[in-house]
């Protein structure tokens, strides 16, 4: 453990803002990169399913 | 007698030292269909764009309902429907969006009939396809849909049947007859034969081509 206290950990020797900002950004981006395709996938599946139903009704 | 709508007097037009027509007279009255005839390059398109005021390469007088055109231009425009070689259909917009803007431009178009007009020209199911994904004929049909929405008195149509299939042509012909029955009139060009039932007045630009003009 490189830090004595949790406050030290947050403070990062005065560089807390920079470290946490970049990790925050990083986590956010990674989360978006995973989350967006998942909801897009859900949307695609739903619309494709609707289409298939429509077509089976038609024929 | 039917009222004279558009009158052209002693029209003269020259392009590159070639006189296209001179002393051309034309009076279009209510209830008339005029076909402008002539070979390729004889000046039909030129004549139409002069008549509707798009071109200023001419000499002579134009009257709308008997008044000099300059004075009643706004009135004239509000009673005119023009479809040229270039139809004014934006390739990136859908049929519906195209018609909407046209309606905003021309108050004489009845926006509430857009849906029905698209159906009449066989574009049902294609309303929301961008025009550039349509075939040549379908693209033109978007412009022709305006005929079904128009309350304009005078239609000026430059080769409206280009790329239109036979069923489409027949439908447009019927529409024109309906339009003149209601007191409208049409000036058009086409190289195709029109159905024999249409009461047709013709004017051949080539007859006005040779001239012994006095140059002042």
């Amino acid at each position: 453990m490189a830090f004595e206290t949790f406050a030290d950990f947050l403070n990062m020797g005065g560089h807390g803002l920079y470290v946490w900002l970049s990790y925050g950004l990083g986590l956010l981006t990674i989360a978006l990169c995973l989350y967006l395709p998942i909801i897009q996938g859900r949307e695609t599946r739903r619309s494709l399913r609707r289409r298939i139903q429509r077509e089976s009704v038609k024929s | 007698m039917a009222q004279a709508l558009l009158t052209a007097q002693s029209l003269f037009c020259e392009r590159d030292d070639r006189i296209l027509f001179d002393q051309l007279q034309l009076t279009v009255s209510e209830g008339e269909i005029w076909q402008v005839e002539g070979r390729n390059g004889s000046g039909k398109t030129t004549l139409l764009s002069i008549l509707c005021g798009l071109s200023s390469h001419y000499e002579g007088e134009l009257y709308w309902r008997g008044e000099p055109m300059d004075e009643v231009r706004e009135q004239f425009l509000s009673e005119l429907l023009y479809i040229g070689h270039q139809t004014g259909v934006s390739a990136m917009l859908t049929a519906e969006e195209n018609l909407h803007w046209q309606c905003a431009l021309h108050p004489s178009l009845d926006a509430s009939r857009a849906q029905q007009a698209l159906e009449s020209v066989g574009l049902k199911g294609f309303e929301d396809v961008p025009a550039h994904q349509l075939s040549a004929g379908q693209k033109r049909r978007i412009a022709l849909a305006k005929l079904y929405m128009s309350r304009a008195k005078l239609w000026i149509l430059d080769e409206p049947f280009t790329a239109i299939d036979k069923i489409g042509v027949a439908a447009k012909e019927a529409l024109m007859v309906e339009h003149i029955r209601a007191g409208g009139s049409v000036i058009m060009t086409t190289h195709q034969d029109l159905s024999a039932e249409i009461p047709l007045h013709t004017i051949n630009v080539e007859h006005f081509a040779s001239s012994q003009r006095e140059w002042s």
Binding site: A2, M12, G13, G14, Y18, V19, S22, L25, R49 | -
Partner: protein
Amino acid sequence: MASSWLPRWFYQLASPRWCYSITGKLIPWFAAIGGLLFVIGLVWGLAFAPSDYQQGNSFRIIYLHVPTAILAQSFYMLMAIAGAIGLIWKMKVADMVAKSVAPLGAALAVLALATGAIWGKPTWGSWWVWDARLTSMLVLLFLYLGVMALNSAIESETTAAKSTAVLALVGLVNIPIIKYSVEWWNTLHQPATFKITEKPAMPAEMWMPLLVMVIALYLVFGLAMMLRLRNEILTRERRAGWVKELLGS
């Protein structure tokens, strides 16, 4: 079509259906291992790795900065190669891979730039300097943006795929030239102490978490890529019987 000297898996990969099912099987593994390594790397790097004698704790940004920078570059390579395969062997899946990779690569480039910029403030005193590495990363981002813009500007999927493949390949030829020219042009870079080429200067406790993070991010972004790829496969193969079967039930 492709000649027969290519291995069998190559043809299997060419089948969207096979690809869909194999990625379906791989995803849980990528998610589990990637997630685990990511957490380990994150905790290790943020809390346990020793702080740098010169830069103090701001150097912990390295555990995000370097992996994203590396990934941004290798994803471009992946995109260009996939594009080339798509062009040469007309392999649909390769086109789809190329398309799915581009936004992720751009996101990675943005991250590398952003973390670098944030890191620059405490170390160099300014958010941005016109240094070789930074500039070539910026150019890489522009290349990604170009590919994405071209892709979204073309309606037809197949045309878009081919066009972007050509662009990505041209970019690939240019990347070494760009890198070389930029490096040569301005190497005001930070002291070389932190270059991976001089690894020994960095104690193992420092670079081990870095390695873990690199692998973790490969897995996580590989996962994201597969998710995108599967959506792409579904949309493009929507007419295929197997998709109807899959979704119909």
